[in-house]
């Protein structure tokens, strides 16, 4: 079977970077490093979306998770940085080990389940199926727009209402007044 070397390399590059940076982010000593690593993860995820043909999702991912959210985080970090204690790292309570154990079991069982489903499933396709990239982007946007405005139009409208409510809600939080009244 013919193997697309370039694609393999790209995938492994992105995937390796993603896992590495995710681990780094969790175990980083300083929160800022943690954030930087997380941004790398988000960019790598965008790359994965690109390989999968989801260009639009990738762009949105970069715009939101690559740029907007990190800025918010940076603001929060700046706000707290001088009070930050470097000892706040990760807990080494029993729950660290229990969760490690539990998640390890979960991981192995899911790997097993996915693998068995891949080979045994009647729509075995999972292993044989090749990814079919779209011939033209027009097709994809057509499908997306149909998804948004026909199939899931109700959810879309609800989402818009949700965003409106978030704005209204934030006005009830009374960010500045509240802070002063507490002191």
């Amino acid at each position: 079977m013919e193997i697309d070397i370039l694609k393999t390399l790209i995938f492994y590059g992105f995937a390796g970077a993603m896992i590495l940076f995710a681990l780094l982010s969790i175990f980083a000593f300083r929160i800022l490093y943690s954030l930087l690593a997380a941004v790398c993860v988000f960019f790598a995820a965008a790359g994965i979306y690109f390989i999968l043909g989801a260009d639009y999702n990738a762009v949105v991912q970069i715009a939101i998770y690559g740029i907007a959210i990190p800025i918010l985080f940076v603001m929060a970090i700046m706000f707290t940085s001088d009070k930050l204690d470097k000892k706040i790292y990760i807990t080494f309570k029993p729950r660290f080990f229990f969760s490690f154990l539990g998640l390890g079991v979960l991981f192995l069982s899911l790997i097993y389940l996915i693998a068995t489903s891949l080979s045994l499933n009647s729509n075995s396709a999972w292993i044989l199926q090749k990814q079919t990239l779209f011939i033209n982007k027009y097709q994809m946007f057509n499908a997306l727009s149909e998804g948004f405005f026909v199939n899931y139009v109700f959810a879309f409208e609800l989402l818009s209402l949700l965003l409106l409510i978030v704005v209204v809600g934030i006005s009830t939080l009374n960010l500045i007044k509240e802070a002063k009244s507490d002191e």
Partner: protein, 114 residues
Amino acid sequence: MNNILNLIFDIGLYHYLFLALILFLIGLFGTIISKNILKVLISVEFMLTAVNINFIAFASFFDNIKLHGFVFSLFYIAIGAVETALALAIFYLMFQAKQSVNTEDYEDGAGERC
């Protein structure tokens, strides 16, 4: 041998699934063990990304006519972003009172509080 090499190097659906699974579990692990509140938030984002990879991978392999997965992932990105922003806003309010980012300072949980 050739078969195994193929399994490893021929990028198929299961590669993406394993990637997403690992990332999801790292995120879950992070939310449980992190002591820093902001790090907990970041870990939640990892879980979100993992879910999105899953959706997009499934959609592009099986569902490339309707693309439900792409749509779902876009919805989820929007919701997740709002959720994060909101969490940071409330974190700001909370931090002003307690001056701590340590999760243990906020831990009462199921215990008794008098």
